[in-house]
Amino acid sequence: MTVSPDENEEYGMAELKHLLTVAGEDRPPGIDLLDGLDLPVRRRPARRRGVLAGLTAGAVAAGAAVALTVVWTPQSAQATVLEAVARNEGKPYHVEMVTQASPGGDPFPLTGDFDPGSDSGHLEAPDGGRIIMLGDTGYQKLPESMQSSRGMRSPDKDGKFPKVPKGWKPVMVPLGENAWLKLPMDHVTWGFGSSTRSFAQDPQGELDAIRKADQVKEEGPAGGPGWTGERYSFTTPAVKKWFGRESSSGTVDIDSEGDVRALDVTLTYPDAKSATSVNFKIVFSAYGTPVKLSAPDTPDLYTEQSLHRLLTGRHLPAGAAYGIPIY
């Protein structure tokens, strides 16, 4: 088939659309969207934990009372939790969290604010570590100096660094008192390679584990400063990720207004070589309070290119992520 130059302008798009269509036409047998769809029982407001399932009226004569039969069906624990998860989805919120990898990890506290609506957020660590996330761009706080690798050979194709040359001493390069790295969010590395610390880019995303839960149970009352509610436990079956299997279990606290107040979830990785689990304890608050974030105002703002060149003396190939792990 020959496409004329006049038709070429639309040909590329037509071809792409055709390929996108073909990419979804080999649906395997056995996928049935209605099969296994766990539809929640319709319910009234959060405080009332039953569902009006039926109403019958007895015959009415003049002056006689109407006889009503009301059947209440308790809403499932999972439906209650999912409704609470959905209730504040998309709203700004504040978190206080502690993460800990096991074995061998120390608890690592973090504080942050997130606004899913504007795709922004920030997280701070007690030692001054900080990341600001503004849409597609991240700003990572840098230390006042970093070690230079000038004179060192590059890692090989497997990422393995060569041995340090005899007599080589590390040189610390000053970056400035208020140095930041600007990088695409796609390049942010959340550094599970770090022994003790980890970040979550969107803490409320951890609530997603509950959507996959195969068991959600009511555990009993829960409470905190200024609120009371219920605690639910959940477990999710192991799923295969690219790095191995992942399963999760934990508890979620929901207050009497139907808001998620706390999440305590442990992600377990039986196939991992080092740390085999990580726990997040997250307290959510201030739903709906506006979050105002902006890029850091500093003369010491580096890009991946400029920082790489400063520390290594080499050019960072186009498209390569600098890959500084977040602590």
């Binding site: 088939m1 792409l16 996108l20 269509t21 080999d26 649906r27 997603d208």
Partner: protein, 173 residues
């Protein structure tokens, strides 16, 4: 139309979008069913001016985005694209489908989402920007980069030309 009718009539279309966004059928089914569960929750409160398709699409993109943003929920770009070869039509179409899905999977999430919403769902730049909660300029950037990356990763015999209408010249298959 009641909810089950909607799923029967429109579910496949959204499942197709989901497999383009996720790259595999199991994840696509999970995403679609998760989104349908959320849609069911609000089904009776949807007003007559709200299309369930648009609402479901929004839920899927938001759900997908939060999946991407959770730690370690990353897909691996596959190292190899499988051979296409098979004389059988169905097997050949499956191979082509898998090649395209793998190429899509290798794209960063936002580029992939922008391409799927713009060129499969046929949304405008403004509609795509609103769904993805980014600017129109960002949509253009992600779509442009996604197209370039897709062009680079697809086998040359599969896709003769993928461009943005700037290339000229006859193309012979």
């Amino acid at each position: 139309m009641d909810f089950v009718d909607f799923v029967r009539r429109r579910g496949d279309r959204h499942l197709h979008t989901a497999v383009l966004l996720t790259g595999d059928w199991q994840a696509a089914q999970d995403l679609t069913q998760a989104a349908l569960t959320e849609l069911y929750r609000v089904w009776e409160r949807l007003d007559t001016g709200t299309e369930p398709d648009a609402y479901l699409r929004r839920i899927m993109v938001n759900t997908r985005r939060s999946w991407w943003r959770a730690r370690w929920r990353r897909e691996t770009p596959l190292a190899e694209i499988p051979d296409r070869g098979s004389a059988d039509d169905a097997a050949d179409r499956h191979a082509v489908a898998e090649v395209v899905r793998q190429a899509l999977r290798s794209l960063p999430p936002r580029q992939r989402t922008a391409l799927v919403l713009r060129y499969f769902e046929d949304l405008s730049e403004a509609q795509t920007a609103e769904l993805m909660r980014i600017s129109v300029g960002s949509v253009k950037t992600h779509a442009h980069r996604g197209l370039a990356a897709l062009r680079a990763s697809l086998p040359k015999d599969l896709l003769v030309v993928v461009n943005e209408g700037t290339e000229r010249g006859g193309v012979e298959r």
